[in-house]
Assembly symmetry: none
Homo-oligomer: 215 residues x 4
DNA sequence: CATGAATGAGACTTCATTCAT
DNA sequence: CATGAATGAAGTCTCATTCAT
């Protein structure tokens, strides 16, 4: 469906880096071209416009993310394990590909209203996957159904997203000061190990969802 | 410290509406001037630049939000009540002033990297308030300290933020189709009563944090 | 109907000169701005686009021409005199305002198909005036009605237009060689007195080529 | 002198169609390549530049036209018959090859100043042929020499050209509305039988508008 | 204080032309 | 001969900001 070519991919990769560094509106097409090592006009052989480039980048990265999360969930059996797998997979991706994460978490939600709705739609897949896991746990009686599954999914997603944002911004701040970004926890929550955060999310979410044995 | 005048406030209000509708980068200074009923140049008598206008708007609205939340928390006694008060106050504000909420939730985080960090810093106040409540509950033994308070605060904030975002975008979508936006719940989570959502957050969070009576 | 201001007029005058010299497509907006002594952006305060500038220029000049021709015709009594007045007025205008004439005769018919039709429509007024004169002469029995008035008008217009074109191009050619353009007749018809040409048109149109047997 | 090859001709034919449809400046080289069924670069194997393509097209078509007109004139004996033959041949060509005519009549005179002079020069051949016919008639005493032959030729050419233009534009307008273009006369002169127009030109040129008192 | 016409730097995008395959 | 992907110069237009009134 989406045409692939090495040059197209190089441009997407370059756009990812430039958008992550400068932001969508501030990034110039010429910057992306230079980063990709192509001429300005070449970009327009593969993308209709700067907006189209952003959308294509979004599609491309969301496909990856959704595939990754779906695979993680599929590899687990119980709802609790599926939920943990989801959370860990997402957090792991953030840690492994922070540039991609930054674009997904921050830049891709900028641009226009159109983009905002568009992205909302695309995140839908991810949210439905998560909601499915929760509904399954609720149906099995393991988890309380006090919170409707779709909204629970959204809230969990919000936790992950916020943690990702905090970590990415803290990372940026460090990077800008010229240091390597060594993930660490400080009391301001500005720098911390994103991977450990997966357990916190797990703790907060599972215990909240679990039906009490007694009471 | 910040100078006040009726015209300055009119400009801030206009900027809030225009940023909410068009987004920061897409909004033109001339649009804001027209919305405020002043000449283009007048804006520069009160603000140094478009960026300064955004930052000033952010300051102004965050002051309100922080004051509101602090008051809500101060009005409650136990950590649990304080947490609920926090959540309800925030959610109530979203419902009452959706335009302001849209700017805070969506637009103010766009713009530049500078702004992003700046806003992160300002959200700090809000996060510290929330973290304080949680730390208090953990100290009293009522809540588990499995999750460090600052990160728990961030996660809770993420839930609220995501719910706000979902509600605001769903609201936009409805408004665009020409209907009044009557808050309602649908299974896609696209439209729902944001006020009820406060209880979901409460349920998910408090039960997750509470130490088990028996195990 | 059309807004007027000294600056707008200065831009129109500059555009006239630049279009006449470089041609519509070759002329750069920056050239016109420089010629008018304004900044590039200023042009867009008065005209929506380069196309709009061309169309506005066309409107402006055609108004002048149509008014001039209508006045000339109104000042004469018999159809023959009206026809001569029309021809002389047009030819006189060419001689007096060659730059304006060049734009009308040459440049304004370029640009897009849209413009071509648009201009066809605007020349309609001129053609109807002329056709009216001819129809009047035919109705009075003075002139033969072998050729339908509208088409006779078109043919006469074609003569005038071609003469204007030939004269203007000959003028250009001279001007380019750095000489003053002294109107003169050469055997190639490349340079000649455009004012005398009015009589030729008069002679050809009223009497044709055939030598009269009598009179 | 000019190299010939089937591919070169296919490109010229394609250029004719594309220029007629889009205009010289608006037409893209890529459009012409696609229309000709060749690669973009192939065009540059046969023509030095887009300008050269236009000039070559002009040369090619003018050769045809001049040959056609010369043949028509050569086939007649008296000046009057030669003149009528010239007019009829030209008008017939318009009717038979409207696309070629459109390019000659409209597009080829656009482009640059250079082209305009160039074309003026090339039309010279056609004009000299016509002027020769008129001079012959004047020399024989059949026609008045009130109008110098070269200018009479130009005026006659102007009539033909204007009729051609009117007919071609009317044709376009019809075609654009999705109908077949059936040549017809309407009182606005917008659509009419171009072939009949030849007689009008003949009548106007030889006899003028004045009704003959005696024969 | 207020105005709003004017500025001009700079961005996106197009497209004639080239050249390695 | 032919291809068509790549180039990059150049043009139109936007819009934050200024300043004379």
């Amino acid at each position: 469906m989406t045409p692939h070519s090495p040059k197209r991919d190089r441009i997407l990769d370059a756009a990812e880096r430039v958008f992550a560094q400068r932001g969508f509106f501030t990034a110039k097409v010429a910057d992306i071209a230079k980063e990709a090592g192509v001429a300005d006009g070449t970009i327009y052989l593969y993308f209709k416009s700067k907006d189209d480039l952003l959308i294509s980048l979004f599609e491309s990265r969301m496909e990856r993310v959704n595939a990754l999360l779906a695979a993680a969930v599929a590899g687990a059996t119980t709802p609790r394990e599926k939920l943990l797998a989801f959370v860990r997979a997402y957090v792991g991706m953030i840690a492994d590909q922070p540039t991609a994460a930054e674009v997904l978490t921050i830049e891709l939600r900028q641009s226009t209203k159109f983009m905002r709705e568009y992205s909302a739609q695309r995140f839908g897949e991810l949210l439905r996957l998560l909601a499915g896991v929760i509904a399954e746990g609720q149906a099995s009686g393991e988890w309380s159904d006090a919170v409707p599954a779709p909204h629970a999914a959204r809230m969990i997603w919000g936790m992950l997203d916020e943690l990702a944002l905090a970590w990415l911004l803290g990372r940026d701040a460090g990077a800008r000061r010229g240091r390597k970004p060594p993930p660490s926890v400080d009391d301001d929550g500005r720098k911390f190990d994103i991977v450990r955060a997966a357990d916190w999310v797990g703790a907060l979410v599972t215990q909240g969802l679990e039906r009490r044995s007694h009471v």
